[in-house]
Point group: C2
């Protein structure tokens, strides 16, 4: 029997989620909700086109949350509303699935944590990149010991979204955040998989960070190029720096460097790097080096003195032996949904936990720790890059929780 | 007529410098000096083998500095001695060429600056990477405006030198620094070319930095693997973190992120990235993207909504049109010396300035600002990654000095 989900907020992200769920028999979209009637109509037309049963429709999200047939709620709404809605959904006993993003305050994260603890249902971030093939494989290799002791990681959200400068006019909330805030607004695509690999909240935790922002050029140039210097939309000032660099310290002694860069022209990268005492993966170098497996040679310099050189292996070389069991199993049955199959996997993980009444593989402590990065990055930048501390949202439980805090077929 | 240089300190780096100078008619090695007689003998045998005139030899570097026939002094000695020796050489009216590395105190840098200002001779760091083909070409593209307004840069010294753990026993000074200090010990290979491209000390300057170090695993594992846990060399503690991340803020609003990683197995990288409002170079991605030149295409996501994708051009694509004039000219006559021709170029730049009595292209203000990074990184890490400020070694002159502060054929 399918798990019955409701969707609150029917923007473009809801459309890609629905496209992924179309081919997931585990999930039935039982209800949809948006305050804008045209979005509801557009979504219904997609269900009709796909020959799917039509979901019940709501304009007020409180009504969808009160719908007793709905078991879990997806909340791809704006960054200013999704945490409050997810908190309400959990208080009504429903699993909440939120989209990626960062928090505006530490308080809204505590609210989420308390709601989940009080009710026993999960809040999961639908962080699809946790289910990316390479991210999963490297996690698998790390757990098998190939990378030795973990020491360092990097991640970035590097994606030319400078067109957002033109969305301020329409009140687009992501654009508004970039207009008014100066911080890593979008840390989780990279930080999610790193946190899972580093056992954050399960024997490890984020301790503190420093964050630094460059000046702002990209958004303002884009706006001026489009509108001209009109004293209005073409002269809007953006607080956001073009490149924000954040360095996080972990309790076990690892550091994580994050880069946020969405207003400059460049090819997309999540800039992934996972490094241990015996191995390293670099997305940008398209390679993995494992001591004793990858090639190391001794050469002579111009004066005849020897030096050593290590060589990357292509990432693909390791797929056959080290693909993660999750990827291996679901690749067999055909990966579904956008972003290379990651959307289908993350939605399946959410629904699978609801069906079994288990905690989701990404839980409320993960959500709180990851999303706090945005708020703390903003604070550090405001303080001239001074170090700021992460709250311990587990209240000490991170020291005794194991990775088995989440079981199930999609456990990370 | 050749420029007559003396060399103080005849270790392995001196050997590669001599190998590069063998084919540079502009330079005559007139004198060599080392406190260890075997090193002097070994160097003399290299001159004999190469059929070169034998230099005068000294055991005490004061005597070499006093040698009136020597016009400039190369000081590839240890990190604890080269700044003091360079200062003495300048006080004797001789140009000083020091090797790469970082400073132990801000005071030793002020000493260098004052000596150069008082005597009017230059102290140049022989930072060969400033003359790397890609570094030069990207600087050329930036100056031609292809990258738009500069915003951000990255650099790294990522090189598996974990064998240094075994050199502590012999008193190797670089190993000793890694044993006792926790900081970016070796910032200039990346920072030098970035600083030149960012006009540091010529309209721009380093303002402050934050620095963070991971735990130490690599050196200690290497020592234990070699010696066993012997309570002595196999149990030496290293203060150095395996990965040190430093973020520098510049007066014009750019940031620079540096990575120091010398104790973990991995392929070599200087991790270069130069990014502006219209273009980016990434060494690890082996690519350059320039808006309006490189390919950008519009694609559709799974729900049918459009998104844009930018594509890297290979770096080599730009050589024909944008190779730096320095590279172009010297490639014609054949590049000499190690490290892909960079050694020959940087030595030629030093000798060329001496011959003409001009300032060197990398001057004492550059040396001081670049090397201060090590000291300040150490302070920031000791303060829990608190931001610390760079001194202004130019005492305000950076605001009015232009790039033409250094002219000549090797100006950067």
């Amino acid at each position: 029997m399918a798990v019955r989900l409701g969707i609150i907020g029917l923007g473009p992200r809801a459309e890609t989620l629905v496209a992924a769920m179309r081919d997931l028999p585990l999930i039935e979209v039982a209800a949809i909700c948006d305050i804008v009637p045209e979005r509801v109509e557009k979504m219904l037309s997609i269900f009709k086109r796909d020959g799917k049963p039509l979901p019940r429709t709501y304009a007020d999200y409180h009504d969808l949350i009160a719908d007793t047939s709905v078991e879990g709620v997806l909340v791809p709404t704006s960054w200013n509303s999704h945490l409050a809605i997810a908190t309400e959904a959990m208080e009504a006993g429903k699993y909440a699935g939120i989209e990626v993003g960062g928090a505006s305050s530490i308080d809204e994260l505590w609210g989420l944590v308390h709601a989940s603890e009080r009710t026993g249902v999960s809040c999961m971030m639908l962080e699809n990149c946790c289910y990316g093939r390479n991210e999963l494989m490297v996690m698998n290799m790390v757990r098998k010991g190939l990378f030795g002791e973990l020491v360092y990681a990097e991640g970035g959200y590097e994606h030319d979204l400078s067109e957002m400068a033109l969305a301020v006019e329409s009140g687009n909330e992501r654009a508004i955040h970039n207009r008014f805030r100066r911080c890593d607004l979008y840390p989780t695509h990279q930080l999610g998989p790193i946190a899972k690999t580093f056992d954050i909240n399960r024997g490890n935790r984020f301790l503190s960070l420093t964050s630094s922002a460059t000046k702002q050029v990209g958004f303002e140039a884009r706006a001026a190029a489009h509108y001209g210097h009109d004293g209005k939309w073409g002269d809007v000032r953006f607080a956001q720096g073009d490149v924000v660099t954040t360095v996080i310290k972990c309790a076990r002694g690892e550091n994580i460097t994050l880069t946020h860069c969405v207003s400059l022209p460049r090819p997309y990268s999540r800039h992934a790097r996972i490094q241990g005492s015996r191995g390293i993966w670099s997305e940008d170098c398209k390679g993995i080096y494992v001591e004793g497996v990858s090639r190391r040679e001794t050469l002579l310099d111009i004066a005849g003195n020897p030096y050593e050189e290590c060589h990357w292996d292509p990432v693909e070389k390791f797929y056959e032996e080290y693909d993660h069991p999750i990827w291996r199993e679901y690749a067999k049955s055909g990966l579904v949904g956008g972003h290379g199959g990651m959307d289908g996997l993350v939605l399946s993980a959410f629904a699978d936990a609801i069906r079994d009444g288990r905690p989701t593989p990404i839980d409320v402590y993960d959500v709180a720790a990851w999303m706090a990065t945005t708020t703390l990055s903003e604070q550090s930048i405001a303080l001239g890059s001074a170090p700021v501390a992460y709250p311990d949202f587990t209240n000490g439980k991170w020291m005794t929780r194991g990775r088995d805090a989440t079981s199930g077929r999609f456990a990370l």
